[in-house]
Symmetry: C2
Subunit: 332 residues, 2 copies
Amino acid sequence: MNQTILLKSRPEGTPQLSNFEFQKQDETLQISEGELLLETKYISVDPYLRGRMSDAKSYVPPFQLNEPISSGVVAKVIATKNDNFKEGDYVSGSLAWKTQQVSSGEGLTKVNADLAPLSAYLGVLGMTGLTAFLGLQEIGKPKAGETLLVSGAAGAVGSVVGQIGKILGLRVVGIAGTDEKGDMLKNDFGFDEVINYKTTEDMTQAIKTACPDGVDVYFDNVGGSISDSALFSINRFARLIICGAISVYNSTELPTGVSVQPFLVKNSALMQGFIVSNYAEKFPEAIKQLSEWVSKGELKYKETIVEGFENTPQAFIDLFSGKNKGKMIVKM
Amino acid sequence: MNQTILLKSRPEGTPQLSNFEFQKQDETLQISEGELLLETKYISVDPYLRGRMSDAKSYVPPFQLNEPISSGVVAKVIATKNDNFKEGDYVSGSLAWKTQQVSSGEGLTKVNADLAPLSAYLGVLGMTGLTAFLGLQEIGKPKAGETLLVSGAAGAVGSVVGQIGKILGLRVVGIAGTDEKGDMLKNDFGFDEVINYKTTEDMTQAIKTACPDGVDVYFDNVGGSISDSALFSINRFARLIICGAISVYNSTELPTGVSVQPFLVKNSALMQGFIVSNYAEKFPEAIKQLSEWVSKGELKYKETIVEGFENTPQAFIDLFSGKNKGKMIVKM
């Protein structure tokens, strides 16, 4: 029996389980010449999918109502009429939230289950790792000795960004939402300092204190008032990588805050939106570097694994209350 | 008799005449070996000086209380003990608001009164032209056929930016504060469209209408709500040059507005603060290009000339109510 998760209605504010619909199909899927039959093993749930569930605010074409949602998936080839893939191969790519599906093979990458756990290809060796590495490198242009501030530091991208910062010789300060996450970032991932934004009254002052030499690179996953607070510490020629704005994805009103323009002029600073797909030509080299760091044990990763296809919508919703440490993944 | 204008007190909000003090000196200025005696001919008043009059918000070291204010000045050498300058030479540089002053010659550029009117060396062939050209080129990276939106379009920098945009083959839309300024921009400077922000109720819609293909490059001289409105029209990979924020220079509270981060992520857009002095190595080449355009009549400029040293503070204050068309200059 094949199951699919559809977008039933567009979320208003925080997504609800009622925005999703499960569909069951009894017939066996058939493949034609050139096609593959895939069985889903792992599904990636990511904050950016929230944008695609809206009509107007989406970063990429929005999901259609009553159609399957798609995201990063690792699947096993269980039948094939395509010479490029054989039965038993594992692949990753952007696929539908289905337990089984037919694919032409286009856009799929074979992944090696012997080199790394399959779930890693959705995280540190997938879009997450690429986003962290390429965002930091291409926009952040970090130099050893500089200070890197990371918001959403305990999330999938943030925890990788901070570690790469340490590998490159930066002082790394993270912002996270629990002391437990802070301890993880400092003890397991080598962050120099972590600020718990939920227990800190004056974030502007806390950032100033944690970054006595100012902030040279700010890797921003959250937006909102936390990012406003960071502006007061940016240095001349600072680079602000705008990778995500999870704090406002569910806003039903237009988000407002401190005007950034005066800070940017005063500091000749740069702020740039980052979407990893714009850097596709750099993926192979980046994956090579990430794999090397992972195999040497220099780059660690944390996963929050939720079991059961039926729990995919809830896992996605839990991202917005920070229930995950590191990458949130659903395992079949 | 030599006169000086000092900063008497730091402005709160809009600068007032009472923030300035005039000082008269009767003794004749003496020069030592290597020095020049200069007589001021033209003084440039610029919005960015407001920043230097504050203590904390300044873009460059703040002016000291009870010390002379300085800005771009064109002066005549009336006595010299420096072999690099002879009597009768004209020079431009950052000099004090004094009718006469002694200089070592350091940082001064000789200017040719036969090639262009002396005042032009404070405008289109000075910092104004350099700011317009280098800001547009270095951050805006404009391509023929793209749409350029310019705020503060009738100001010194904005009116040059728009014309350079036209020379480079862009569609140019300006934002200005009177219909008279709009007519000047369209009829004299070749702007394709001008929006009068004072008579327009819905700036977001007006910008969308004037820029049917969206905005690729936004040259921002004003900040505030006008710049917020522009966000709704930016294209993928848009470049936003943050050159000034005249609308908030006099704010006594921290300026707030629409959060830019979601717009930047969604459009992979770039926003960068521009200060011309960071690009000093490009000045000679830029001045050469600007002079060529001016001599061919492709680049025109407007000046608002105020007569009398004693009117310098008022000319500066008048910038904030938009009393100038083009470059505001005080003539001795």
